[in-house]
């Protein structure tokens, strides 16, 4: 047995021709007691698992995501490799992992050993590698300069003087569910995925949960879409499941067009097989045979890992014909999005996939008349990843977190004027202030005056409203949408009028421009803001801005057009004083009129 998926002995009857129904469950526990109980098999499997966890004795993992690569993770990886060779440390193996979310601390390196808890090092640079190896591996002591935390692992005694990972400020309030595997396993290894509970949801569903029961489960869970519109997932699935069509599609919207958001990228890079599993589960439930991952073309690393994941999933019949011995067949292809901000809008997305360059269509709904006019289910990455968890852990567990109306967790990308930037996963409904605290507040000497929530479909909130819960319903009450879950802390030196102008200009240029309110409305908004920022504004301009914003909300064609005026509306409402000053040709932040 070299890998978990290898047969342990001839008693294992699973084969490509006939699948053992509990193949997935068997992997980390091989052999299952009801099958056979040979000691030799258990030993073999233990060996494989130890290799996965500790390599040849000690395992060093380097976090490799797009942000860590930008911080030099590849050079660190190379340096470690050379260092190990140079010192002849053949008992130490080297591997990669995904991203823990603490982008501000890249490059992250963790070292695992069978006896001691895994130690996580942060901000490791190439030149610190010899120090790290010499301290931790050779001298067997914590490399103090770099240490971040230790993981809690059952049966291992915690090390003294090393903080526990879960107590770190950035992680303390996080509830890691969809991101649980991120940064803890090798995203390119099927074995590691199986070791971390991968495909258990799919396997369970196929064996025990009939599609109608899946729908019931979803309904009870009250899971909401994590893409900004907060749609009811159960409803959407039920529609697709009920719609007629010779084929149905499941599309994972991995376009993530907002520059302030990269939480989906992190999930894709760190847990690509998880995404495959979730989409397949969706296909099983709604009766779809084809899956498409609509991927942002800039996400090259994610693409590579997804391709690998698809190949591996196919090799073990998690994708393809008659999955896991059932009569359900499903396969996934990756299609690159055109990369502009708006092509993630569902209808544009479908039209683009059909080859019609992002021209949006009008109803009927995509759930019955989507891609190629066939029933189509679309969610973003994060929404999908909740599904297998729900199947494995159940509704009660799922609803332990979040609000009554919107249970569960939500990923956020924190950026801007913060000490700690990165992506976090928190219970739905934590306050804006909680998120800011996770981000460590402003760096010394700076102050946060406002936040920009939800990117170009969101809005701005002033300090006085930082206690607002971040769930869709509460945000909506404050007049904005949480969008794709991005939070940018704005420093005191920000001119809100100027910032709103710049964001409005971006929206006006990037929107598809199909409908009159969206296109002409955002054009006019950007021109009026330009006028105000250049000191030519008059009071009636503010009235016109409000008028246009509310018109766009009511009459635009798509969600983007209806939500994007939240920018100008919230800006006008919460930062009115700044507008008044600008009308007097004075910019309190000193940004305009220079």
């Amino acid at each position: 047995m070299k890998t978990l998926t290898d047969k342990c002995c001839s008693k294992c009857w699973d084969s490509e021709l006939q699948r053992c129904p509990v193949f997935t469950e068997c992997q980390p526990q091989r052999p299952l007691p009801h099958c056979h109980t040979d000691e030799a098999c258990i030993r073999q499997r233990e060996e494989v698992m130890n290799r996965l966890r500790y390599g040849a004795g000690t395992l060093i993992r380097v976090g490799m995501g797009t942000c860590s690569q930008q911080a030099g993770a590849s050079s660190v990886l190379g340096a470690i490799f050379i260092e190990l060779q140079r010192r002849n440390l053949s008992h130490v193996s080297l591997s990669i992992t995904g991203c823990l979310g603490n982008c501000f601390q890249e490059v992250v390196v963790s070292i695992s050993h069978p006896k001691y808890p895994t130690v996580v090092y942060a901000q490791v640079s190439e030149d610190k590698v010899p120090y790290l190896i010499s301290e931790h591996i050779e001298k067997k002591r914590i490399a103090r300069e770099l240490v971040l935390a230790q993981l809690e692992e059952p049966g291992k005694k915690p090390l003294g003087h090393v903080p526990a990972f879960k107590n770190l400020d950035f992680f303390r309030k996080q509830i890691r569910r969809v991101s649980e595997r991120c940064g803890h396993m090798d995203p390119e290894s099927l074995d590691d995925f199986l070791l971390h509970g991968g495909f258990l949801g799919l396997s369970k569903a196929i064996r025990e949960v009939k599609p109608p029961d899946m729908l019931k489960l979803l309904k009870e869970s009250k899971l909401k879409g994590r893409g900004g519109s907060g749609e009811d997932v159960a409803d959407k699935w039920a529609h697709v499941a009920a719609a007629d069509g010779e084929e149905k599609y499941v599309i994972c919207n991995a376009h993530e067009g907002d520059p302030a958001s990269f939480k989906d990228r992190r999930l894709l890079e760190s847990d690509p097989l998880g995404v495959i599993e979730a989409m397949t589960l969706a296909g099983y439930t709604v009766g779809a045979g084809k899956g498409v991952i609509f991927l942002n073309p800039e996400y090259e690393l994610a693409k590579k890992r997804l391709e690998l994941a698809i190949t591996k999933a196919r090799a073990f019949n998690y994708l393809g014909k008659e999955i896991l011995g059932s009569n359900f067949s499903f396969d996934i292809e990756i299609r690159l999005s055109p990369g502009d901000y708006l092509s993630g809008e569902e209808t544009s997305l479908v039209t683009f996939l059909e080859g019609k360059a992002g021209v949006r269509r009008v109803p009927p709904p995509l759930t019955s008349h989507g891609l190629w006019n066939l029933p189509t289910l679309i969610h973003n990455v994060e929404t999908f990843l909740n599904i297998p968890l729900l199947v494995v852990k159940g509704v009660d567990w799922f609803r332990e977190q979040g609000t009554g109306n919107s249970p569960g967790t939500r990923c956020w990308t924190l950026s801007g004027c913060l000490q700690r930037r990165g992506t976090v996963e928190v219970p739905i409904g934590v306050s804006i202030q909680d998120l800011l605290d996770m981000g460590g507040g402003a760096p010394p000497g700076k102050k946060i005056k406002a936040v920009h929530v939800g990117g170009y479909v969101g809005g701005y909130l002033p300090e006085g409203l930082f206690q607002t819960p971040s769930d869709d319903a509460s945000m909506k009450k404050s007049g904005i949408s949480s969008g794709i879950g991005s939070l940018v802390a704005l420093e005191e030196t920000t001119c809100m009028v100027h910032k709103t102008w710049q964001d409005a200009l971006f929206t006006a240029k990037e929107e598809c421009g199909q409908c009159t309110p969206g296109r002409e409305g955002s054009y006019q908004i950007s021109r009026f803001l330009e006028k105000i920022c250049q000191g030519r504004g008059v009071r009636s301009d503010l009235q016109k801005l409000k008028e246009i914003a509310s018109h766009m909300r009511e009459a635009s064609m798509c969600t983007y057009g209806r939500l994007s005026p939240g920018l100008i509306a919230s800006s006008l409402e919460y930062f009115h004083a700044e507008y008044e000053e600008h009308l007097q040709k004075h910019c309190p932040a000193g940004v305009c009129f220079k």
Binding site: T516, E520, Q524, R553
Partner: protein, 582 residues
């Protein structure tokens, strides 16, 4: 039928499932403005002028594409709805050129109408920072993007209906516009100049390249003898521009008005059509007898010729090589007429007056030149000639009095008259072919099964008929609209065509919906225009081309007989395969 009940503006109605709120409202005579709907062509849903309030929705859905649902409660004119529409129109107007004074659509423009209805007096918003370039390089079609309201109908017309697909939306956000690929000019792409984009546009963003100035210059020039050829469709539709009933012919009036404007002669293009029929009937008979190069396909629609040259050059041998009626007129004028009246060709200026925009392109074809001069020097659409006439005689044109066509091209047969109707060429050719082939007089000249109603849906447009001729059966097809023509060509290309003769009109509904016809043209108007042509046919004593005494005379004196070397030299042309850019 599956009926459901809904409440519109507090009136309950029972209506079939599947129709839109807009259609439901229409059935109650409730008017909802709909800028981006063109009946029978569909909607893009872009303009948002048709918003309504639906109970339970917090945004305003659009009536044009919202299917009715049981129990729906709809308000079409609540203050909220009206306010939203007003803003939509105001926003559209902000970046619009507003040059109504020089716009053909002034007074019959959907946008202008809405601006008036919604009481928009001043613009409170920003105008365009700098105007977009007008594309006027094509000899036939001009596009002024500054007037475009981005409704998308022209894209539907060009891509979905005509399948020429040279225009599409480009750019995002407020830079969005309609243009040919990579911002080229219409002149640089396969635009066939059909003018369907003009016909469908709710404003005047597409329009014909005007040649009025050129004609007026010629009229002012004392050395020039300016002669006009009048298409039979022109007198039928021109009244629409002066408020007379659609379909009523004002033939004598047009001739009189043109004379008043300074034209020396006005000839009947239907006579040219008679010659086309003669040549075509002979060519068909020859091919039918030999069984070679079948089917024969008509070539009198210039946009159609350009279409096949671009997209199906390998099928060009199927085209009948006869020139189009207006080009035949040009040839007759610059040869036969010029010689007999001893006019120097450089002083003879010919103007074709037509419902067609593609003729403006056709007349620039070098192979149609006669001794270095174009057969047709200028080409005026009905809209243009109406303007010229209004300049000359004013609004009282319908009462201007009448005059007759000028010799020697003053007599035409009914067959030549119905040439512009869908199935008209076919019927005209059959009237002659029958007597040629069978050698007996036709009992009835009307081929009822070839005629058809005006289409409300554009999926139609193809009619197949078998015609018994003596002991032979002729398989014919009549098709209009280039999308439909493409289907026929695809079948032909894959060897699945069993026709002997195919009539193709590039415009849907034929010349009655030509690119140069007056606007607006509802389906009723188009129907009336077509009927007008058939009425003219009925009024004629001579209804077959070969019985036209002028035609006989022309063959006797000049062409000898159909397909003779002289006829081939003067009445026929050749086609050029053209590039098809991707």
């Amino acid at each position: 039928m599956d009926l459901i009940s809904i409440l519109i503006d507090n009136r309950e109605i029972q209506i079939p499932r599947g129709i839109t709120v807009l259609e439901a409202a229409e059935s109650l005579d409730i008017k909802i403005p709909a800028l981006c709907v063109s009946p029978g062509w569909g909607t893009s849903g872009f303009c948002r002028s048709c918003v309504v309030e639906v109970e339970g929705e917090d945004y305003l859905p659009i009536a044009c594409s919202l299917p009715v649902q049981e129990g729906m409660i709809i308000k079409t004119n609540s203050p909220r709805v009206l306010e939203s529409r007003r803003l939509t129109v105001e926003l559209l107007l902000a970046r619009h050129t507003m040059d109504c004074a020089i716009c053909y659509r002034n007074g019959k423009c959907s946008l202008q109408d809405l601006a008036n209805t919604y009481g928009i007096k001043e613009s409170r918003f920003f105008t365009r920072e700098k105007p977009l370039e007008i594309d006027d390089k094509s000899p036939a079609i001009v596009h002024n993007p500054n007037r475009c309201i981005l409704c998308g109908l022209c894209v539907q017309a060009c891509c979905d209906i005509q399948t020429v697909s040279v225009i599409d939306f480009a750019h995002r956000g407020f830079d969005r516009m309609v243009e040919p690929a990579f911002g080229q000019s219409l002149d640089e792409v396969e635009c066939v100049a059909c003018g369907q984009c003009i016909q469908i546009c709710p404003v005047e963003s597409f329009y014909e390249k005007s040649e009025i100035d050129k004609v007026r210059e010629a009229l002012r020039d004392p050395h020039k003898e300016v002669v006009a050829f009048l298409s039979p469709s022109v007198p039928i539709s021109i009244g629409e521009e002066f408020g007379t009933e659609p379909g009523k012919s004002l033939s004598g009036e047009v001739i009189k008005a043109l004379k008043m404007a300074g034209f020396k002669k006005v000839f009947d293009t239907a006579l040219g059509a008679d010659l086309v029929i003669m040549e075509e009937a002979y060519e068909l008979l020859t091919r039918w007898n030999s069984g070679k190069n079948l089917p024969l396909i008509t070539s009198c629609s210039p946009e159609w010729v350009k279409f096949i040259e671009h997209f199906y050059p390998e099928l060009l041998p199927h085209l009948c090589s006869t020139k189009s009626p207006q080009q035949i007129m040009g040839t007759l004028a610059k040869t036969y007429f010029a010689e007999s009246t001893e006019i120097d060709l450089k002083n003879l200026f010919t103007v074709s007056i037509t419902p067609c925009t593609a003729e403006k392109f056709e007349r620039t074809r070098p192979e149609l030149n006669i001794q270095g001069f174009p057969g047709v020097d200028a080409c005026l659409t009905i809209k243009e000639v109406a303007r010229l006439i209004r300049m000359t005689v004013g609004d009282s044109f319908p009462d201007v009095g009448t005059e007759e066509f000028d010799q020697p091209f003053e007599v035409s047969s009914g067959a030549g008259v119905i040439f512009g109707a869908t199935g008209g060429v076919m019927e005209g050719v059959l009237r002659t072919l029958y007597e040629l082939k069978v050698g007996k007089k036709l009992k009835s000249v009307v081929f009822e099964n070839i005629r058809e109603e005006v289409r409300t849906s554009y999926s139609g447009g193809l009619r197949e008929v078998e015609v018994q001729m003596g002991n032979g059966t002729l398989q014919v097809a009549v098709v209009h609209g280039l999308g439909n023509a493409r289907r026929i060509l695809e079948a032909l290309r894959s060897g699945k065509s069993r026709y002997h003769f195919i009539e193709v009109k590039g415009c849907p509904n034929g010349c009655a919906q030509g690119g140069g016809q007056p606007i607006p043209a509802t389906l009723e108007v188009i129907q009336a225009r077509k009927r007008g042509l058939y009425l003219e046919d009925e009024k004629r004593e001579i209804r077959k081309a070969h019985e036209n005494p002028r035609i006989k005379e022309l063959y006797e004196k000049f062409f000898k007989k159909p397909a003779s070397p002289t006829a081939r030299k003067f009445l026929h042309t050749e086609f050029t395969p053209r590039e098809h850019y991707l």
